[in-house]
Amino acid sequence: MNILIELFSYDFFVNAFLASLLAAISCGIIGTYIVSRRIVFISGGITHASFGGIGMGYYLGINPLVGAGIFSILSGMGIQLFSSKGKVREDSSIAIWWSLGMAIGIIFVYLTPGYAPNLMSYLFGSILTVSSGELWLMLALAVVIILFFTFFYRTILYISFDEDFAKTSDLPVNLFNYLLMILISLTIVLNIRVVGIILILSLLTIPQATANVLTREFGRMMVYSVGFAFLASFIGLLISYFADIPSGATIIFTQVILFGLVKLIKTLF
């Protein structure tokens, strides 16, 4: 216990703790939407496309996360546009944006003179080096997501469950699809620092799978997902600190173990 109290006297640890809490809120809620609506693959495409923005950020000397934000929103819109208006199969459209973003990122990182600092932390995450500026952004995002999903809970639920039926009810389906796509993009970008591009999909899917073992109700699944995401992130954070192993990977590993445990307990009892 004492050692925990001692840990919380370090700024970097408090920041990491807050980052895991805020990441759990945004990823828990947005992830439930993603999983329920079966758009995990789209989210994977957006995540990887954002690497293009990171590379461009390095090249232009701006914050790579700003570049990542622009790229992920553009790719989210692009995927929807390609498949709805361009008559490209949706999965092909995702693959195009996914690989295009990665390619642009690699080219720009290569063209950037000298050494690209922290490149690995964008790929694999580095929760222990999250800055307080990034925390404020994560807090703002968490607040926006909570408000949006509270205000429009039923609209989002109905559109996600049966888009055609929602259209016949005159709900603003396209507007919500785009707004939610923007929220997905922002969630991905702001959580890149926590677990990294390679692993972020797990925060959006594993806690939800764990929650889904216990409930089949959209709202409850969101709340449980936030809980499981936070629990596993915090435990993973502690393990990574004491065992001195990479935090992002440890957090994901803990998520999977937690899923396995809950599934096992549910099966046995």
């Binding site: 329920s36 509270t150 809970y153 609209t155 469950f161 055609d164 016949t168 009810s169 089949r216 109700e217």
Partner: protein, 255 residues
């Protein structure tokens, strides 16, 4: 009789392929129209056009009632059965036009309406179940409740028999006959033998549309409508028996 909708020389389809060609039709209050035709003949396309889910390529479609006054029951394969949603929420989604900002309203009348529909269908006990836990028959009733939430003037059902394994549920059709006293019904089915007992008129859809102003249809008429159909008869359920027309059966797969 009130005219609910009017379709004039409508052509519709997907990606430039015309599935419905120059179709005309009118629907009045009190109608109970059975829409029959082979797979891929355009039955669902017709419904999607009526519901505004696809834009017509040419021609006119005039709704004389509000879009939200059409109740709609989709085919079972349109539904994601693993979606985390409870029965009561599915039914309440039928009144989705009140969903915006509903978080901070009481929505008492909407909840009561949903509960009373569940009670009417005899499925109040499953109100909190997830839809993935339901039998086909239960699910069919849940989605019928959803379609009725807005007290529609027109009820559109796309192959309701796909929900149940044995292809037929007499109870549903009796319920529809009862509902028809309050609303017009368009019922899509590939099973002409069964529905012809319940519907008042028949529309054959196979790229074109032939409206048949009675519920008795003969093999010769089907042939002249270019509506190749396999006619299925069922054991102990009332139905209009039609002669099998073997020579046309193979068309069902080629159209």
């Amino acid at each position: 009789m009130k005219k609910l909708l009017e379709i004039k020389d409508l052509s519709a389809g997907y990606d430039g392929n015309i599935v419905l060609d120059n179709v005309s039709m009118e629907v009045f209050s009190g109608d109970f129209i059975g829409v029959i035709g082979p797979n891929g003949g355009g039955k669902t396309t017709l419904i999607k056009a009526i519901l505004g889910l696809i834009k017509p390529i040419s021609g006119e479609l005039n709704l004389h009632i509000s879009k939200t006054n059409i109740g709609y029951l989709p085919q079972v394969n349109q539904i994601d059965k693993r979606f985390p949603i409870s029965v009561i929420d599915v039914v309440r989604s039928g009144k989705a036009d009140s969903a915006l900002f509903s978080s901070f309203r009481k929505n008492t009348s909407e909840k009561e309406k949903a509960e009373s529909l569940l009670a009417e269908m005899g499925i109040s006990s499953i109100r909190n179940k997830a839809i993935g836990e339901l039998s086909g028959g239960q699910m069919q009733r849940v989605f019928l409740c959803r379609a009725l939430m807005n007290n529609p003037e027109l009820l559109v059902l796309d192959e309701p028999s796909t929900y149940v394994d044995n292809n037929f549920e007499g109870e549903l059709y009796l319920k529809l006959k009862e509902l028809n006293e309050q609303m017009a019904i368009i019922l899509i089915s590939h099973d002409v033998g069964t529905i012809s007992f319940f519907v008042k008129t028949i529309a054959c859809v196979n790229r074109n549309l032939h409206y048949h102003p009675s519920n008795i249809i003969t093999e010769e008429q089907l042939t002249s409508y270019n509506c190749p159909l396999q006619i299925i008869t069922h054991g102990n359920i009332p139905h209009t028996v039609l002669k099998l027309h073997d020579e046309h059966e193979h068309h069902e797969h080629t159209h």
